[in-house]
Amino acid sequence: MKIDGRHKIRTVAGESIIIMQGQTTVDMTHVVSLNATSVWLFERLAGRDFDAAGVASLLVEEYGIERERAEADAAAWIEKLRSCGIIVE
C-alpha cells in the first residue's frame, strides 16, 4: 500500500490537515485533521510502498513502544487513512 500522492499536509489554524491537491483543483470538502504522530508517519511514508508491519516497526523505533501496541496503532492508522481514501493499495 502507499499514500495517494495527491494528498498533501497543510497547517491551518495551528492544525495539520490533509487536503487533496490535484494539478488544477484542490478538494477542501473533506479535510482530515492529523495529530503529531500521524503527521510524522505520513511524512516518513509519503512516496513509498509500505505494509502494516513496516508502520509498526517505525513506531517501535521512534517511540520505543511495545511491538503489540505498535501493531494495533499501525492497523488503526492505516484503516483510518484508507477509509478516507488517503492510503491506497
Binding site: A13, I19, Q21, T24, T25, V26, M28, T29
Partner: protein
C-alpha cells in the same frame, strides 16, 4: 467530527488560488440561499481575471475580517463594487481589487455540476435580482419552509 474555523480554511484556499489552482469548498451558512445551501452544495472557487468581475458574479473577498462568498450586485465607477448575499438584505461595499476569487461552478447533492456561466444559472440570478423589492417576503417564506422541513424531519 471536527469543524475547521471558516476563516482558516479560506486562508488555505486563498493560498491555493494564488498558486493558480481552483478550490472546492463545502458551502457554509445561509447567506446565499436560495442559490447555495448550507452543508449541501460544493462550490468551486477559481483565480479570476478583471474581466470576470462583473455584475452577477459570485466572488470571494474579505469584509471586516470575515471571508465572504457573495454576489456582485453593482459595479461603481469609483472602482468599488457592491456585493450582497442572495439570502441577505444588505450590501457590502468593497474595492474591486479586493476580489480574491470567482465562483466557477456549484456541485449539487445529486452530483450534478452547474456552471455559473450556464444560461440556467444566469437566468435564475437575473430573476432573483429583479425580485429584490420583495426579497424580504421571499426569504421569510423560504425560512418558514425550512423550519417546517426541520420540524418534520
Amino acid at each position: 467530527m471536527k469543524t475547521m474555523p471558516n476563516n482558516a480554511l479560506f486562508e488555505a484556499a486563498i493560498d491555493e488560488i494564488g498558486a493558480g489552482r481552483s478550490v472546492l469548498l463545502r458551502c457554509g451558512g445561509n447567506s446565499m440561499r436560495p442559490f447555495l445551501h448550507d452543508g449541501r452544495d460544493v462550490i468551486e472557487l477559481a483565480p479570476c481575471t478583471p474581466e470576470q468581475i462583473v455584475r452577477g458574479a459570485v466572488v470571494l473577498y474579505n469584509y471586516r475580517g470575515q471571508y465572504m462568498v457573495h454576489r456582485i450586485v453593482r459595479l461603481r465607477a469609483d472602482g468599488r463594487c457592491e456585493c450582497m448575499g442572495d439570502g441577505n438584505l444588505r450590501t457590502e461595499t468593497i474595492l474591486t481589487s479586493d476580489v480574491m476569487a470567482v465562483m466557477r461552478s456549484v456541485r449539487r447533492r445529486n452530483g450534478r455540476t452547474v456552471l455559473c456561466r450556464s444560461a440556467s444559472w444566469q437566468w435564475h440570478w437575473r430573476l432573483w435580482a429583479a425580485l429584490r423589492p420583495v426579497r424580504r417576503i421571499l426569504l421569510k417564506i423560504d425560512y418558514l419552509c425550512r423550519y417546517e422541513n426541520r420540524r418534520q424531519a
